[in-house]
Amino acid sequence: MNKKTLSYLLTSIFFIILFFFIIIPLFSFFLTALIGKPGGLYVFLKSSSLKLTLKYYYNVLTEPYFKQSIYDTILLSVSVTFLSFILSLPISYALSRTTMPLKELIRVFLGLGISIPGFIVMYDLIIISTNVGFLPFSLYSYYGLLTVMTIASIPFMVMYVTLAFDNLDYRLIEASYANGVSKIKTFFRVTMPLLMPGFVSGWVIVFLLTTGTLSVPLLLAPPTFPIVTAYAYVQLFSFFNWGNATALLSILLLINMSVIIAYTFNQKKLGFAIIGGKGFHPKYNQNKVIIAVLLIYSLIIGLLPIIEVIILGLAAFSKFWVHTLVPSEFTLNNFNAALQLYSFAPFSSLILSISAGFLAILISFISTYYTRMGLVKGKKLIDILTLIIFSLSPVMIGITYLSSFSNDITAFFINTLPIAVILGYTFGRIGYSTRALDISVSSISKSLFEAADIMGGSFNKFRNIVLPLIMPGIIEGFLLVFIRSMIDYGTTIMLAPYNWATLALGSYAFISTGEIPEGAALGLIILIINLPIMTYLYYRRGKTFHEALIV
């Protein structure tokens, strides 16, 4: 088989997959806003009584409250993106470009921050702010939302910005200086273009993540500051108004799409044409004062998740705990009670999340590495599609998949096998892994690919040359997909077959009915599972990168 045929074949297979699991669900999503009922394409074609209407879009575009929710959502998302970027920059710089000690520890601390389900963090915060009153403003306000969502976004931003710093090849900067270019000019013409891919990826990811977040605004957004996801959720699950809910969400989706398309098509213009390679010659900042300041700062930010973990741990072992610093009585019964009802949940969570992690990496690998190699065409379209579905909140992905595939032809897969839930996890979070791998792959010098090709392209060469270079992206991507799947509630409740309840599902069920200790116990088990996996992979990531430097 020649390369051209292989390319057509691979591209076709890949787009068929994307068509089924991204385009059809998205089409069903927009269709719901035009017919006012869920059911997807299959149901629409089968039923003659369903008529297309624009009245839901008319409602959304004419009612001031709907319009305000769109405006407020954009305002909040931009603010969160900006603030989390500013707060993350020093940490990422320290992690990548200095000899700061305790790097792995800080990475694990931040990783913990994304391992705690949002609904647990919310309850923690509500308890703390009720009892301690530590915030100078109401938690139920724009500033409350900004605080909570910025804290939640920092770990993501740090990951992407760190990858950007990792890819900075200092030889290019030195070359610039050697040619007599001023420092300022070098910064804008050389340094920034090299950093931008990672920065912009971080901005886009955090922006999309914030627009799609549901649990925080659902509890915190005051009526005077309506947020689209929360308002649509109430429209959908309290009033069963599918038309208004999806019309509102699809307006937000269109805004997100324009951001994604602008991002995708301007990558080159932003200076993403990497002429160098990996940061083979990293210049580490060894200034002790700067390192000490950065270490203290990183530890303070890194300690925020640790405080959340401590609260979670105390709640998991508590019998009585309100209005005191620590629980007044402890018990182990919460674990017994929770695991008695959800005995298969730890296995279910692991199987589903690991599968989603691997699948996401496989698909992201094809859409980044194979497109770079020219074997799969249409990179821009792939990028746009994966980011669009990523911008939907997990519960909307669940609903969209369910209404697309729960019909008499495909229902078997939804109802019995955990295939739909794995695909829901994968495609709902593929934005993470694709962005992470894209940063790694795009930073590799084209000459290296050619060298690998010339050397016969054996699997060993691939393993020895390419894999170490993209391993940080693979690990970050896998971890993000895995961890976010472990704590997923929205997609799980909609798509998991009934004997595949996960830890996060059980935890949410307990917490939402006031059984916080049992919910915290299951939340803590998620962390106990995540922690060694995360620690090992961060250790591997460091080692691999080190090896890459030697190569």
Binding site: Y65, S238, H323, M494, G514, E515
Partner: protein
Amino acid sequence: MKPAISRIAIAIVIIVIILAAIGGVYYYYYQMQQASQRVVVIYADYSANVAQPYFNNFTADTGIKVVPLYASMGELVGKLVAEKSSPVADVLFGGAPSAYIGADEQGVLASYIPPAVKNDQTYLNAKSLYSSDWTWYSFTYNILGIIINTQQMSKYNLPMPKSWWDLLNPVYKGHIIIENPSTSTTTGLGFFALIWQIYISKYGVQNGTAAFENYVKNFMSNVVSPITPDDEHAETVLGQSTDGAAITIDWINAAPLYKMLNGYPLQAILVNDNILGPTAMGIVNGAPHMKAAEAYVNWVFSYQGQKLIPTVFLKPAIIYNNITPPGDFPPLSVEEQMAFPYNQTFTTQYANQIDSIFNQYSSLVQTSSLILVFSSSTVKYGNINMPVFSVPSLNLNAMLIPTQKEPLFFVYLNWLFSPTTEGTILSTLPGSFAGHLMSTLISLITPSTAILASASLEKHE
């Protein structure tokens, strides 16, 4: 790169074959399971710790295994609607009738007349307990009340509140916690709707609304900020309180329930001007295990199923006489004993009263946001003088009839309870749209309010 690609391709083919094999075996197993009716999938708007013992009893009695999914009513109904083409669940269990009306409109509930109530004229006469097409039916009910933490009440030397109006007393400042009324059936559609309706019944729409908003302002100044996201959270904070939180508003079974589950020192106080809130269930349209679903519904209405309702859910049974709580049931207050008529049930006479009132206003159900029906008669219980109209043992003088425009009331509450406007509720709202929204809502909500009388109002003013 070709060998690498070939290896990946081979690996993918092998994985696909393995997955197909597993899928085949699973499919066979699934078909076998579908064929059997020994399983019933129940979507339950309940806490797992509470409902699981009830399900276990059903399994012990019938041999049918219950596979539950515990979540909020909105999410469960949303899921039912999305999987309508190929249903997974058999029964929707728990939650207020208003949610069932919404679910029924989406066509996810099947019509089924449980034989146990088919010939029970008492039940049949209480038409607000079930839908006319039998897509949902209430199996228990509840009464709104004030829940107190007895230890905190003593510690802070707080007087026992005896009415909704007592809660305005500044002595309770910082001692009341409530769940967010903007999203809550309990405090929003229940408590505040009740207070509002009482005021407009006395003063008319405009002045009554102003008086209600004044009540809200004074009441909220006694409430600990921030309000909790749900009543379960409010009960947890109240039950574990060591620092002054002593009072909340909830359905009164919460007190014995949390006393039983967690040992919280809670007690329910039943007050005048109250609301009955039924809890319903229904069979899912196209339920995969239809026979098992019917068996479950029939069991809930059976003597055995009804007998367990007081002990498991700590709510009254809705049919069958002589159902008494077991010996280890937590000691009940006088008010709780009155509220839970374990040894009584609806009588035809009282059911007829409900029926006639309901029928008078049934046409409004389609167009109203909410209907509260008030009583003109009073009955004396111990030292409490209670206006009642329906079941004397229930001490009710208002009944909440679920309607299709309930959501509008929540929009109004959302506007009213904006935390940023707390304390200055009426005067300083920004923007003209809020005022426009407000007047539109009032006009939509109020004309259909059904007021029979308001005997109890006089003494509040």
